[in-house]
Amino acid sequence: MKSFNSNDAAVKLALAGALLLALSIPAFAVLGDNAASVLTDQARMKGTLHSVDNQTYVLHEITAPTGAKVREYVTPGGAVFGVAWEGQFPPNFEQLLGPYYQQAQEAIAQKKAAQESSQTPRRRGPVFIDTPGLVFAQSGHMHSFHGMAYVPQLIPQGVKSSDIH
């Protein structure tokens, strides 16, 4: 296991290179995007970046000045396959889920419609969606939220979904 920080020149260079390649991609995408978005996120969060290479994936953990954390899980090929978060508030999912935000919204609508037609009382507790293309879960209460999301198809071989947390 190799650990490195964002001021590691080589890493910065590599990520910056990826960023250059990614300029045509919307700047606010994360999940499903390439590793360049990690730096975008770090800048946006004014956070410190700590990265760990686990061989099968790289974990980038961004810690904001508030202590809130976002963890981004990146394949050896450079795709962000999972994100996790913890903090006083939930994150902005439009930014964090990137191209999957719309999919999440559709899943919400479907779940709501199913609930209304089933006569089953609404669950008031931790939320989740479990669709073939996107898994999302969040729990918590005012002052402490925890959650994670991943794209099952993007998870590299040898990595468990439970590694994303």
Binding site: G47, Q88, F89, Q95, S118, G125, Q138, S139, H141, S144
Partner: protein, 526 residues
């Protein structure tokens, strides 16, 4: 007149005690009877009644008696302190002759729920306000709001949800046939002349609307000019709606149907709903990943994120009461069976260790929780040897949500749709035992650890019963959290956990007596 009568009674009682003082020898005589009377004969929860005994006998007998009560407590001088009850309860007071313990007399005192006690608001768990279309496991109280300073421009809102998982009073404005009860025109809070609005994100959705001020009264407790959020169906800024969790309910504050209540009273562990973050960083949020926008000033339809002083944030209203302001006790003295009950009743009791009815010794253990950091307010729950440090108690959750099928072995009600939200064990009721312990802000265990056991019933059977209170309604935390001891998994101990218990929620940094020197919130105790 009434006062005069009471005075005479007390005086005669004192005279009687004084008179019997010199009569205690008892040599040679015998006791033939004891008669007991208590005044008043009906008291509220936590109230007191003076009881007196008349001992009769022959010869030189002793008039001394010992006191006992079938519930509550009674002093050696006959002052009875009523227990906290959720429905009218008859308590038997017994005076037994000390000279001849086989001779005794009794009197009954009726103890009523709350109304005569200022710090007790009755809780009901029922099907909710009609506009909600039927709810389960939501604890409701009534809250009175008035235009600040007015005694006539007031409205009492029923079916306000009691939530230990949040802070602040939020009421649904009546508009567009949304079922909201609040029609009172409460003055808006402003910053720089613009109306203050708030985006408040809950575990499973968000609410949006202006912050106003109101004089708030619950039971006998009042606070003046309290910032209160008015929830409306108005479209929230995108930086607010984008925090809606996937699978959540979206903008739940727009209607009673979506919210399940006429409002919510957050009586949780903290003083304000946001705290220091909104004082210094609220204006620079820009909707970034970790710096969400909470408070906005709005001019017309244009809303801009803003910093807000703690005094203008929406507070846990308990902190502004003149007395009994260091936390709450939620008391459900009667248990709810595994199959549920049509309704359940309990008490929301203000203060901890401040009155005779909220002594911390009603709880077995105190569980301290972090006051800051990403696990603020969370407990460590251990199940089957694995610890889950992001667990929490939350009266605002309507079930016991924990782990998943692969860890618990409890079948889901279905693999998809809403049936996957709940557990349906094959051989209900299934018993689950966990160990709970507090923690410090570094995640180290803190304070006593103790086991807790609850039952899980077949949720679909429960829902078919038309009951509204369920002690054994449960579901998975989220599917798949069971693999690899995923630390994202945890326990959300919702309202079912509160039935049959006394659960204290102590507010951050507020001193509490009864748990050692320097003891203060935040903690849970039950």
């Amino acid at each position: 007149m009434r006062k005069l009568g009471l005075l005479i009674l007390l005086v005669s009682s004192v005279m009687w005690f004084a008179a019997c003082g010199g009569n205690g020898g008892g040599g040679g005589g015998s006791v033939t009877g004891v008669s007991v009377s208590c005044s008043p004969s009906t008291v509220g929860s936590g109230g007191t009644s003076q009881c007196s005994a008349v001992v009769s006998g022959t010869g030189n007998f002793s008039s001394n008696v010992t006191w006992s009560s079938s519930a509550g407590s009674i002093s050696s001088s006959g002052v009875f302190t009523a227990p906290t009850v959720s429905s009218n309860t008859t308590v038997t007071i017994t005076a037994t002759s000390t000279q001849n313990t086989s001779v005794s007399g009794t009197a009954n005192v009726t103890v009523t729920p709350s109304s005569t006690t200022s710090n007790v608001a009755p809780i009901v768990v029922d099907a909710g306000p009609p506009a909600a279309g039927g709810t389960v496991n939501i604890a409701f109280v009534s809250v009175k709001v008035c235009v600040p300073g007015s005694t006539t421009q007031c409205q009492t809102i029923d079916h306000v949800q009691v939530d230990t998982g949040s802070e602040g009073l939020r009421l649904i404005q009546n508009t567009n046939n949304n079922g909201g009860e609040l029609t009172l025109n409460l003055p808006p809070e402003t910053i720089g002349g613009n109306a203050l609005n708030e985006c408040l994100v809950f575990e499973d959705g968000y609410v949006w609307g202006p912050v106003v001020t109101a004089d708030v009264t619950v039971a006998g407790e009042s606070a003046s000019s309290v910032p209160v959020q008015v929830m409306t169906p108005a479209t929230a800024p995108r930086t607010c709606s984008s925090q809606n969790p996937a699978g959540g309910a979206g903008d739940t504050g727009g209607s009673v149907m979506a919210f399940g209540a006429n409002g919510l009273i957050g009586v949780g562990l903290f003083v304000n709903d946001c705290g220091p973050y909104c004082v210094s960083d609220g204006a620079s949020c820009n909707g970034t990943n970790s710096a969400p926008c909470v408070y906005y000033t709005c001019s017309g339809n244009t809303c801009t994120a803003t910093n807000v002083a703690e005094s203008q944030q929406v507070p846990n209203p308990v902190t502004l009461f003149a007395t009994d302001n260091n936390g709450v006790l939620i008391n459900f003295s009667t248990t709810v069976g595994d199959g549920g009950a049509p309704t359940a009743s309990g008490s929301l009791i203000f203060g901890i260790g401040t009155e005779s009815n909220n002594n911390l010794n009603l709880a077995a253990n105190v569980y301290p929780v972090p006051d800051q950091g990403n696990d603020a307010g969370n407990l460590i729950t251990t199940y089957s040897g694995v610890s889950y440090p992001t667990s929490f108690l939350d009266s605002g959750s309507n079930g016991l949500y924990f782990l998943d099928h692969s860890l618990t072995g409890i079948a889901l009600c279905g693999n998809s749709g809403n049936n996957a939200d709940y557990y349906c064990p094959n051989n209900p009721p299934q018993s689950i035992t966990v160990t709970n312990q507090g923690q410090d802000s570094n995640g180290n265990p803190l304070g006593p650890s103790a086991q807790a056991t609850f039952s899980v019933e077949n949720a679909l059977n429960l829902f078919n019963s038309n009951n509204s209170a369920f002690s054994a309604l449960a579901g998975p935390f989220f599917p798949g959290c069971g693999t690899g001891n995923n630390p994202a998994c945890a326990f959300d101990f919702g309202l079912p956990f509160f039935y049959g218990k006394n659960v204290f929620t102590a507010i951050d940094n507020q001193p509490v007596s009864g748990c050692g020197s320097g003891c203060a919130g935040p903690f849970f105790a039950y």
